[in-house]
Amino acid sequence: MPIRTPVVGAPDRPVDPLPVATIPAPVAPPRAVTPPALSALKDSATVGLALVPLGLAFGVLVTQADLAWWWATAFSAFIYAGSFEFLLIGLVVAVAPLGTVALSAFLVNIRHVFYALSFPLHRVQGRTAKAYSTFALTDEAFALATGARARAWPGRRIVFLQLYMHLYWVGGATLGGLLGSLVPEGVTGLDFALTALFTVLALDAIRDRLHDLPTPALALLSAVIARVLTPSQMMLAACSLFAVALVVRHFASRHFAKRQPDDRLSADRRPADLIPADEMPAALVPADERPADLIPADDSPADRRSVERRPVDRARNPHA
């Protein structure tokens, strides 16, 4: 019998000032004792640590724009939106009107609207933690928290991960601001760190969904169309086109699936129903792998399903 990952079932503890004692599981296998803060530190070691060189690059660019080094700290700590901060340097150096700053922030960050569709905020407990989690909902946090590995992460682990990434980013930016004057004149191109970061995040996200290559293809197409037709509002246009393309695809595949014989339906449902979601390797769980029409109406993404099905799991595995 596969060993259950106890972290999955552990109730999320609030991060706010009123800590609630959590009752430990009666039989606690070794993995249960890994506190979320420590797991999150390990999770942050890959993409998260990449925020350090990115922050360094940002800090150097701030000083190269003749701003005091601590503006690198202020920007990174309070705005905490990597790609927009790079853009903001150019805006404030040109003393752009605040309305232009607000509009640019809106257009570059409008993509975050779509993050609410996938980011597991429902797992984060407590008002303070929820507020911080939305504040620190960067592209990197979104990519990590929605990845295949994160399906069973409790809320605390996600919030700690966001906190570490915030610290890496602020630390890198501050260091870059302090060391920026040491970078020789003529050294350019550090801003590529942002492109490299998104390259890595895109490759990882695609690798999580190798069975679904039309999705990145549609996204690429949307981005290129938006770049050609609306270069000044590319981000908003690309995200909207992509969302519309997905909705069309969803209804098209649903329509198509309705023509399939009924016996496929029961056969396709069986494996997912027989294996508890949290006992399967995350990569094998994708609920959406099946044609859309075959997903039961109450079939939520694997993270919620693992919680909802817990009573059934218990009945099946009395030792768990």
Binding site: A50, H112, S118, A143, V187, F192, T199, M235, V247, S300
Partner: protein, 109 residues
């Protein structure tokens, strides 16, 4: 040169707009979470948005100029390193180092 009050205001405005865009949609979308269309979107948006962000970073690339070779080569190095070693930090450092070297020494504007 921007003065301190202006810079503080710019930071405050940017932070407010960014946080609002991150937090408010959760309230607006909460009732929709059970919808099968929203679930379909939620599993597919992450991979697609990262692709869009990558294209966004490369939006000013002029393929007709030799200067564009620096980001193109650096991009190839990043992708190659990541497919080879799957180490995010290595891929980002490697790609950025190649880009800085090429943009500062070879393809100077």
């Amino acid at each position: 040169m921007p003065d301190t009050p202006y810079l503080l205001a710019a930071v405050a405005v940017s932070a407010a707009v960014t946080w609002a865009l991150r937090a408010l949609p959760f309230a607006a979308l909460a009732p929709l979470r059970a919808s099968s269309t929203v679930q379909y979107l939620s599993t597919r948006m992450p991979a697609g948005i990262m692709v869009i962000l990558l294209v966004y970073c490369l939006r000013d690339l002029l393929l007709t100029e030799t200067r564009a070779l620096a980001p193109v080569i650096a991009l190839a190095v990043t992708v190659g390193l990541h497919l080879w070693r799957r180490n995010a930090l290595l891929s980002i450092l490697g790609g950025t180092a190649v880009h800085v070297a090429l943009a500062s020494l070879v393809f100077t504007a």
